[in-house]
């Protein structure tokens, strides 16, 4: 991933993860794999994990431990009411930003 893309992703990755969880609950590795499939090829699992921990602490996701065949139990994350609210706010902010940026692009032509 190009440096600029990495930088721009930083501020939005949290929203991206929440949006992915809004579809259906998932554990860390699943989310990373899903995002990779969708073209975010260089996202590190650790980074997703770190953000999931933060969302858990802020009460945006609910966590359920599900036993796995191999290794420790997996933490399955699901978006709760507060998470949905936060995601809506994220999309509102996103719309605002893209709109303003488009205006700047048009104005610069």
């Amino acid at each position: 991933m190009a440096k600029l893309e990495t930088e721009m992703l930083k501020g939005t990755l949290e929203g991206i993860i929440l949006a992915s969880l809004a579809g259906r609950p998932a554990y860390g590795y699943e989310i990373t794999a899903r995002l990779r499939e969708q073209g975010f090829s260089d996202i590190a699992e650790g980074t997703v994990y770190a953000l999931l921990l933060r969302m858990e602490k802020r009460g945006l996701v609910d966590v359920e431990k599900v036993p796995s065949e191999k290794g420790p139990p997996r933490k399955v994350h699901s978006l709760n009411a507060q998470g949905h609210e936060y995601l809506e706010e994220f999309w509102r902010t996103w719309s605002f930003l893209t709109e303003r940026l488009e205006q700047l692009r048009e104005g610069g032509k």
Binding site: Y29, T47, A50, L53, R54
Partner: protein, 129 residues
């Protein structure tokens, strides 16, 4: 790990030393490359000034969780930590120490001092406290 475990009676009873030893034991059980990576991250995390013992212990327990799961799934190290491990560890550490290399009290002090200065500002429209 539930919050009760991190901050509750259990945590007080088992104490930070025991939690640390338990964490070290878990890391020791990891396959070699995962152990090496986890220990490298552990060394880097030592630079961060912990705000309290509980959150510091929880940080290392969460680190062990990540690497145990990665080892079980066979996720390559590079896929776990990414091209820029510092970025990952900074994001990770921010969950516990509020980030940065300065003590939390220094950050709080700065925030409080600025807040006080701004509050005492004699602005024309500033009629607040």
């Amino acid at each position: 790990m539930s919050d009760a475990e991190k901050t509750g009676l259990m945590a007080k009873m088992i104490g930070p030393k025991k939690r640390w030893r338990a964490y070290k034991g878990r890391v020791k059980e990891l396959p070699e490359s995962y152990r090496t990576a986890a220990e490298a991250i552990e060394r880097y995390l030592m630079h961060f000034v912990p705000t309290d013992g509980d959150s510091n212990a929880a940080m290392f327990e969460d680190l062990a969780d990540l690497f145990e799961q990665a080892a079980a799934d066979g996720t390559p190290i590079r896929d776990v930590v990414g091209e820029d491990p510092v970025e990952f560890v900074d994001a990770f550490a921010r969950n516990y120490s509020e980030g940065g290399y300065v003590p939390a009290r220094a950050r709080k002090q700065l925030t409080d001092d600025i807040g006080r200065a701004a509050g005492n500002e004699a602005g024309p429209e500033d009629t607040t406290v």
